[in-house]
């Protein structure tokens, strides 16, 4: 029997709102990509019926628009949670403004991508590389919302989409906006492929329960890493106290 002896502690990393956001977002992206593909290149349907009897393409578009609204509000909620949530959900992780984030970025590059360094980067939340990619992804979310609702504004009398009406003139016309919207969809698809692979990869070599952490929220972290983290926090806490 193979057993592995390691001093691991379970840490509650992903709070319920974060997990909620993740799964709603994932489902939305899948639906939006499928319906988006169909809208961009609808399948050929031969029908003897008059147009009056059918509305399937209209329904596909309806699903796309409804899902887009859910996606938008879910995204807005996550931004809010970046300020209200715990330190692993904080916006501070996503913008690489500290030196140690860049150091970690380099480490991840060496360990996980180039594989020239062996010791895994043990981070409790996202590692610096993941955070940076998510930061880019958030911009893609924003741009996708802007272009999508910009296009939608013309078809809607509602208040919210009209907040995006300025997007179309900015890019010079509907078609350019549509192109950007279409190309960005591919970014999401590619992201999803790499994202899922990396989750598997980390779980496979590190065995810290990465995959299940987005379901239950708990991750296993080596006691040593936890101690380091605690020490760091105490340092920051002291600094704050003395600063007062």
């Amino acid at each position: 029997m193979n057993t592995r002896e390691k001093n691991l502690s379970a840490v509650y990393v992903w709070e319920l709102p974060v997990r909620f956001f993740h799964w709603v977002n994932a489902v939305c992206i899948v639906i939006l990509c499928i319906t988006g593909f169909l809208i961009g290149d609808p399948p050929a349907i031969m029908s003897g019926n008059e147009a009056f009897y059918g509305f399937w393409f209209g329904k596909i578009r309806l699903i796309h628009f409804i899902t887009a609204f859910i996606f938008l509000f879910n995204f807005a909620f996550r931004i809010y949670w970046g300020f209200a949530g715990n330190k692993y959900a904080s916006w501070k992780n996503f913008i690489p403004y500290r030196k140690e984030q860049w150091q970690e970025l380099l480490d991840v590059l060496k360990v996980d991508i180039m594989m020239i360094k062996k010791k895994p980067v043990e981070s409790i939340g996202h590692n610096a590389m993941a955070s940076l990619i998510y930061f880019a992804l958030f911009w893609a979310f924003a741009l996708q919302c802007l272009t999508g609702f910009g296009l939608y504004a013309q078809m809607s009398k509602a208040f919210l989409p009209h907040l995006f009406a300025w997007v179309v003139p900015l890019f010079g016309g509907d078609l350019m906006v549509r192109y950007i919207h279409h190309f960005l969809m591919w970014f999401f698809i590619l992201f999803a492929i790499v994202h899922v692979y990396l989750v598997f990869y980390h779980d496979y070599i590190e065995r810290r329960g990465v995959t299940s952490s987005i379901i239950g929220g708990w991750k296993f972290v080596e006691n040593e890493v936890l101690k380091e983290e605690d020490a760091k926090e105490k340092k920051i806490g002291k600094k704050k106290e003395t600063g007062k």
């Binding site: 193979n2 592995r4 961009g40 290149d41 609808p42 050929a44 349907i45 031969m46 029908s47 019926n49 147009a51 009056f52 009897y53 059918g54 509305f55 399937w56 393409f57 209209g58 596909i60 991508i113 594989m115 062996k118 010791k119 895994p120 013309q154 078809m155 009406a165 300025w166 179309v168 003139p169 010079g172 016309g173 509907d174 078609l175 350019m176 549509r178 192109y179 279409h182 190309f183 969809m185 591919w186 698809i189 590619l190 492929i193 790499v194 692979y197 990869y201 496979y204 070599i205 590190e206």
Partner: protein, 361 residues
């Protein structure tokens, strides 16, 4: 250029147009502009009392299709209004004068009606080398700047003057620029289309004459009265779109049935114009009605949005033209190969870690 200024109505009477026809014209113009019923009286009053608008019409890099569209306006009074009642004081294509005389005409109008005349521009202005378009020994850029300085407002006719059209298409050898990029500080009305619909052109002129103000414009400077709706939204084939019934190729069974032209590249869903309502040639037809997809000629840079007969966006990168989906699939495949390579490498390089026999160094 000294002549008694007749009002538009007087001019019409002189030409033997009955009051009844005059009123009919005013009513149809008011309807085109989307005015309420009291608006008819406003139009009538304006045309009865106001004299002709002084106009300078400049031609630069263009094909004169806007003028053609204009010349062929369906309404007889419209033609009279545009060509007799408004004084086309200077227009390279239509004026009688030529040479030195024509240049004098231009300068007289600019001097006598300073701050009053409407500058109408047809065509784009070359900026890379100004010599590409010279008239009377001066470049288009010099002429347009001088003429715009004293203009009350600028009307950019058609796609050339509004966004550069085919001359500004990639790689834009002459550095063609639309009016809005070479004129500043003047209100510019972009009457888009290649060419714009005659009735739309007339509508804009009647609006200027009636109200003396610039019509309400959209984000791209087009009069909202004519460019606020997509061709798609007023398309008689729209029901087929919603039902998912599409023409797959020209002349197929679906084309014969008159299904939606979306899949053979119709730009209706991203084009703002009134083709579906006003139509062309006295309301006879318009491209979609003739079975041809809309090319989106009232949109910026429509020549670069190729291929015309495909819905999917194409990108010309590294000399290879490919659609977004082809590029996406290629990058996706490359990613899959990368992942496979990484997975193999992981199993080799991180063997120790996976088997957990030793702590990694």
């Amino acid at each position: 250029m000294e002549h008694k200024k007749l009002t538009v109505y007087e001019d019409c009477l002189k030409k033997g147009v009955s009051r009844r026809d005059f009123l009919k014209f005013c009513a149809s113009m008011a309807a085109l502009l989307g005015l309420e019923s009291t608006g008819v009286a406003q139009v009538v009053e304006a045309l009865e009392k106001k004299s002709r608008l002084p106009i300078i019409w400049l031609h630069f890099q263009e094909c004169t299709c806007c003028s053609e569209s204009f010349v062929r306006t369906s309404h007889p009074i419209l033609a009279s209004l545009l060509f007799d009642s408004i004084s086309l004081d200077y227009d390279e294509t239509l004026m009688a004068a030529s040479g030195e005389q024509a240049e004098k005409c231009l300068h007289d109008t600019m001097a006598n009606s300073k701050g009053e005349y409407i500058l109408m521009i047809e065509g784009s202005v070359p900026t890379k080398n100004e010599a590409y378009c010279c008239i009377g020994g001066r470049s288009a850029l010099q002429i347009v700047k001088e003429a715009a300085a004293g203009a009350k407002a600028v009307i950019a006719w058609g796609n050339c003057a509004s966004s550069g059209c085919v001359q500004a298409a990639n790689p834009n050898p002459t550095g063609a620029k639309p009016a809005k990029k070479v004129i500043s500080g003047k209100p510019i009305i972009n009457v888009q289309g290649c060419p714009p619909i005659a009735e739309v052109m007339a509508g804009v002129v009647v609006h200027l004459l009636t109200f003396g103000t610039i019509p309400q414009l959209d984000g791209l400077g087009r009069p909202k009265a004519f460019y606020s709706r997509r061709v798609h939204d007023s398309c008689y084939r729209r029901a087929n779109f919603d039902a998912g019934l599409f023409v797959e190729s020209f002349d197929d069974e679906n084309a014969r049935k008159g299904y939606c032209l979306y899949k053979i590249g119709c730009r209706g869903p991203s084009t703002y114009n009134s083709c579906g309502i006003i139509k062309w040639n006295e309301g006879t037809s318009y491209p979609i009605q003739s079975g041809h997809p809309c090319l989106g000629c009232s949109e910026e840079g429509f020549w670069d949005n190729t291929p015309f007969y495909e819905r999917r966006p194409a990108l010309n990168a590294f000399g290879i033209e490919a659609t977004a989906d082809q590029i996406g699939l290629a990058v996706g495949a490359a990613t899959a190969v990368g992942i496979a390579a990484h997975a193999v490498a992981t199993n080799i390089r991180k063997k120790d870690l996976i088997e957990n026999e030793a702590e990694p160094a």
